[in-house]
């Protein structure tokens, strides 16, 4: 399906079933070029399934999916590193022969000095940074992120949020981020979509008006808290029996 150059990904009428159970229903969403869109929803609402459909890892039961011809980057819940390759070699796994980019990404994420280490020698935050670097090294037009910061402690998580924001500024990719943290969604995204569970539907959309680059101070502002509160109310209304 042809893609408007200003649109990174588009879903229309997507629905999906596993056996008898409807997982996704009438999902429509658009990620514009350069935009970060976050999806929040209760666990088990089909967020991961939706992301796998956007990636092309899963064919939906119905509906249309448009994604960049150049392929997408995917950052998983776990770092999914190759334990038998050193940091450097993991970072280059998906790169298309552009050494300078990988070195730049390794430097920006503070991994350059660790490049000869094995993955098991890295902290959880470092592993996630490496996973992000590996995806970005392929220069994807669209990056899909499936709760990538969920397993990290708060300090590391907030630090990675800022690094992710900086990478987005410099690399200019579009991103679709799935998370169960409303806080994280508001801090990182330009738009937040709210998903209901059983079946998963998009039930709300919130624009995030805060300018970039964003800093930690934003988290403690009343506007931030108000928006998080609005999204939370919308989310709880549709959360079902979770």
């Amino acid at each position: 399906m042809a893609v408007d150059t200003r649109i990174a990904a588009q879903l229309r009428d997507v629905h999906h079933r596993f056996g008898e159970a409807g997982v996704l229903q009438d999902v429509a969403l658009t990620v514009r070029s350069g935009e970060i869109v976050a999806i929040v929803g209760p666990s088990g609402c089909g967020k991961t399934t939706l992301l796998r459909i956007v990636a092309g890892l899963l064919r939906p039961s119905g509906g249309e999916v448009a994604r960049p011809d150049s392929g997408v980057g995917f950052v998983f819940q776990e770092p999914a590193l190759l334990a038998w390759r050193r940091v450097d070699s993991n970072a280059r796994l998906l790169a298309r022969g552009e050494d300078a980019i990988v070195n730049h990404l390794l430097t920006v994420s503070g991994l350059l000095e660790h490049r000869h280490k094995w993955p098991h020698e890295l902290s959880g935050g470092m592993k996630m940074r490496l996973s992000l670097v590996r995806s970005l090294a392929a220069r994807p037009d669209l990056l899909l992120l499936d709760e990538p910061f969920g397993a990290l402690d708060q300090i590391t998580r907030h630090r990675l949020h800022d690094e992710f924001g900086a990478l987005h500024e410099s690399e200019g990719f579009s991103a679709l981020l799935v998370t169960h943290s409303i806080d994280e969604a508001v801090y990182l995204a330009d738009r937040v979509l709210v998903m209901s569970s059983a079946p998963g539907r998009i039930v709300g959309e919130f624009a995030v008006p805060f300018p970039r680059p964003r800093s930690d101070d934003l988290r403690y502002s009343s506007e931030f808290a108000a928006l998080v509160g609005n999204i939370a109310r919308s989310l709880y209304r549709y959360a079902g029996d979770a």
Binding site: A55, G56, E78, A80, A83, W118
Partner: protein
């Protein structure tokens, strides 16, 4: 894989005492075994009385080499060569067969369900009892020895390869799927490396089994150069206890060498990156 490791010691420790402390318990057991050996030899052979080396039931450790003349040494040497060659080539073939079977079964559920019950059947059969049949069919040749060894040794590698290939996480597979990797690329760069710790765990078992297969299978070979198994029955029938013990010790040493070689290879290829 659950692995039982000795407690870690600091890597750069050059002090002798910790190493000595680690070696002391097994050395103490060795001392007890040798003392028991002397006691048994003494009680059975009445104060080590027979000095000609032929009539001892059990020679004490210091008389092990009494009956070893040049002819006996050369018989033991050629038997060692036969058994060592059988075990080594047999193990290499077992690795090849085991990994290929494991990979094939991991690629196809129907292959797995077709093969698996028969692999179990071979595994639970004491393969030694098949040796006469194999000798009948292919003759008392090196090939027959290899078949026996491979049949005994391949299973742990096949099952562990299958297990290791299946244990690769979905996210890792997705990374390769999104990169458009071919099945071959996925096998070489993802599945086999990920399975290698499991394969090595199987290999450690198979290495011991290969030596058992090479030595014990040899009992049934009545023609050609004898291996260690048949040689030991010769010495047994001639009541030459000294050479019999030496032959047994050599078989044990071959097993130990295989074990050490596999451990060294694992330390080189897997240990640097693998944390269970």
């Amino acid at each position: 894989m659950n692995e039982i490791r000795p407690p870690a010691t600091p890597r750069n420790s050059t002090h002798r005492s910790p190493r000595l402390a680690r070696l002391a318990p097994p050395l103490a057991v060795l001392g007890l075994v040798i003392a028991g050996w002397y006691g048994l030899a003494y009680s059975l052979d009445n104060n080590f009385a027979s000095a000609d080396g032929s009539a001892l039931i059990i020679p004490p450790p210091h008389q092990l080499f009494v009956g070893l003349n040049a002819a006996t040494v050369s018989r033991i040497a050629s038997a060692t060569w036969v058994s060592l060659g059988t075990a080594a080539v047999g193990l290499l073939l077992a690795i090849l067969v085991g990994v290929l079977l494991g990979v094939a079964m991991s690629f196809s559920r129907s292959l797995e369900s077709a093969f698996w019950p028969w692999l179990i059947a071979v595994q639970v059969t004491p393969v030694i009892v098949l040796t006469p049949i194999i000798v009948r069919v292919v003759g008392a040749s090196f090939t027959a020895r290899l078949i026996v060894t491979v049949l005994i040794a391949f299973f742990p590698i096949a099952s562990n390869t299958l297990f290791g290939m299946r244990s690769v996480g979905r996210a890792l597979h997705d990374v390769f799927t999104l990169a458009g990797a071919s099945r071959w690329h996925r096998l070489i760069h993802l599945q086999l490396p990920a399975a290698s710790p499991a394969i090595f765990a199987g290999l450690r078992v198979s290495a011991g089994l290969a030596v058992i297969g090479a030595v014990v299978g040899d009992f049934f070979f009545t023609r050609g150069t004898p291996g260690l198994g048949r040689l030991i029955t010769f010495f047994f029938q001639d009541t030459r206890s000294g050479p019999m013990f030496v032959t047994a010790l050599i078989a044990a040493l071959i097993g130990l060498c295989f074990f050490v070689a596999v451990a060294a290879l694992r330390r080189l290829l897997v240990s640097p990156w693998h944390r269970p």
